[in-house]
């Protein structure tokens, strides 16, 4: 499996999930990620694994919730407006501490929106639409190779921390083909024998539920969850950094938009503008501390995203006013071109010089 193959992002995610040991898939088709379910329907049948094309996304995520509580490696995949339907169950999955793996191949919203790629679900993924204090772990791939690598990581992190983990891709990544290598699933298997619901023969019964029942219990549960989120942040926060050592301006993007800011950075450097890049690989936990460090050294931070400005607010929180934070964005459709980003950066720089 170490040969490079030209493969579509959606198929790469599906095959990576199988390599990671996927046992149960529950899903409902929606563009631009339908190929994941299509691919798995054949491959899981061949392998005698559980594949259910559910009657709705709501059903799919609740099936995942049930199957995950047995410790099985489960997954559902969907897109934006249908992931919206899953938010209640994700809050439950966080409270119940079950290892759900969820893939969102983003399309345009709000509402039914359209099938074109966008990055408008940043808030939905990292802040969540479910109730209560909870955090999912969210990973954002920027290439087809990373669709594979981060699918592997999503399964590992979901099981290691018993926390729902989302792969947040977009229609561009789902539909594009690139050369990629699968390799072997690189993580150890996580022992779930201490909590999984596997039948109580020979041991006391267990129950997984999120009802607090009394104040003290509920408080304890939330502190326990947040102690876990703290550990996830300490151990698993991940980002990519390029040319930040001598940077005057920092470009920040996530997912497939990173590719364009890399090209823009190279062009800007040729013109003598010292640009660097930080790309969060984990959107939750967010590399807040590192961005804060860099913000003390640069004059400008420019966030580039395909939405009306969502991650930019987390960057502002991280920056704590140390640098000027601007946004280059478009809500949907054609990805911001390298030229548009360069023009945008120059405009930001002109304005900030003018204001000095």
């Amino acid at each position: 499996m170490s040969e490079k193959v030209l493969i579509k992002g959606n198929y790469a995610i599906a095959q990576a999930a199988l390599n990671a040991g996927l046992e149960c898939y529950f899903g409902y088709p929606i563009t631009p990620q339908t190929e994941i379910g299509e691919y798995l329907s054949g491959e899981m049948y061949k392998r005698n694994l559980a594949y259910v094309c559910a009657e709705s996304e709501l059903a799919a995520i609740n099936m995942v919730l049930g199957a995950s509580s047995t410790g099985a490696k489960t997954m559902t995949t969907s897109s934006s407006c249908a992931v919206a339907l899953m938010q209640e169950a994700l809050s439950y999955a966080c409270a119940d501490e079950v290892p759900v793996v969820l893939v969102n191949v983003m399309r345009a919203g709000p509402g039914l929106g359209y099938i074109y790629p966008a990055q408008g679900d940043y808030y939905q993924a990292v802040k969540g639409g479910g109730n209560g204090d909870y955090k999912m772990t969210v990973l954002a791939p920027s290439t087809v190779q990373e669709c594979i690598d981060l699918t592997y990581r999503a399964f590992y992190l979901a099981h290691k921390y018993r926390n729902p983990t989302m792969l947040l891709a977009d229609g561009l990544l789902g539909q594009m083909m690139e050369p990629a290598e699968f390799g072997e699933y690189p993580y150890p298997e996580v022992d779930n024998s201490s909590w999984a619901l596997t039948g109580a023969k020979g041991r006391d019964g267990r129950a997984i539920y999120s009802l607090g029942a009394c104040e003290e219990k509920q408080i304890k549960r939330i502190y326990h969850l947040f102690e876990k989120y703290k550990q996830i942040a300490e151990n698993e926060t991940d980002w990519e950094e390029l040319n930040t050592e001598d940077a005057d301006i920092l470009l920040v993007a996530f997912g497939s938009m990173t590719r364009n800011i890399k090209a823009a950075m190279n062009e800007l450097r040729k013109e003598g503008i010292k640009a660097g890049i930080l790309r969060p690989i984990t959107l939750s936990p967010f590399p807040t501390q590192r961005i804060n460090e860099i913000s003390k050294q640069v004059n400008n931070i420019i966030v580039v995203e395909m939405n009306m400005g969502q991650m930019v607010n987390d960057v502002k929180i991280a920056v704590e006013g140390n640098a000027k934070v601007d946004l280059i964005n478009r809500p949907v459709g054609q990805w911001l071109s390298v030229e548009e980003i360069i023009t945008g950066v120059k405009k930001v720089l002109e304005n900030s010089y003018a204001s000095v």
């Binding site: 030209l6 539909q175 594009m176 083909m177 690139e178 071109s337």
Partner: protein
């Protein structure tokens, strides 16, 4: 350096297939490559296109505003994508189905009777391979061997029986000189 190609035509002309073959060929030649289809409510008889970006570095954006090379297999694609050719780029069209309306003077035009060549040889569905064959005369890095290997790769998994006919159509394209 980055270069990009858009292949466009009717649904059913093998546009996406040709794009996959081209992308694999460029990968075999050692390039970084990204293939991206238009996706949406396309259907047989409608228009379809895909974009291939190659680079010696990491490929930046796909879904670009314009392209270095556009391969138009029908009139609709020629008309739609003429404005998307980069200045100094090339419009390569299927002269059987396209009347070149050379509205722009800052690009190069080449054409070949792809559908006619395919039809006359009994490969009526393979104008796409004729196009790729003809492309070897335009892009020096491409050749029969690498494209044949790419066709084989894309047909893996149950469609191997179509290899011979695709290869024959490819060869016909290679033998056909694209005309200005």
């Amino acid at each position: 350096m980055e270069q990009n190609f858009i292949i466009a035509g009717f649904g059913g002309q093998g546009v996406l297939f040709a794009g996959k073959v081209l992308a694999n060929a460029f990968m075999f030649l050692g390039n970084n490559v990204t293939w991206y289809p238009c996706y949406g409510a396309e259907m047989r008889g409608g228009t379809v296109n895909c974009e291939i970006v190659i680079s010696d570095e990491e490929v930046s954006s796909v879904h670009k505003e314009n392209a270095d090379y556009i391969i138009a297999l029908n009139q609709l694609s020629f008309d739609r994508f003429l404005s998307k050719v980069k200045s100094g780029g090339m419009m390569f069209s299927n002269s059987t189905l396209v009347d070149e309306n050379k509205l722009r003077t800052d690009i190069e035009y080449l054409s070949a009777p792809m559908t006619q060549i395919a039809n006359e040889s009994g490969y009526s569905k393979l104008a796409n391979m004729v196009a790729l064959g003809a492309l070897t005369n335009i892009i020096p890095a491409l050749n029969e061997n690498v494209l044949a290997k790419a066709i084989q790769k894309v047909l893996e998994g149950g469609k191997e029986k179509f290899f011979e006919s695709n290869l024959e159509a490819l060869k016909l394209g290679i033998g056909c000189l694209a005309l200005a």
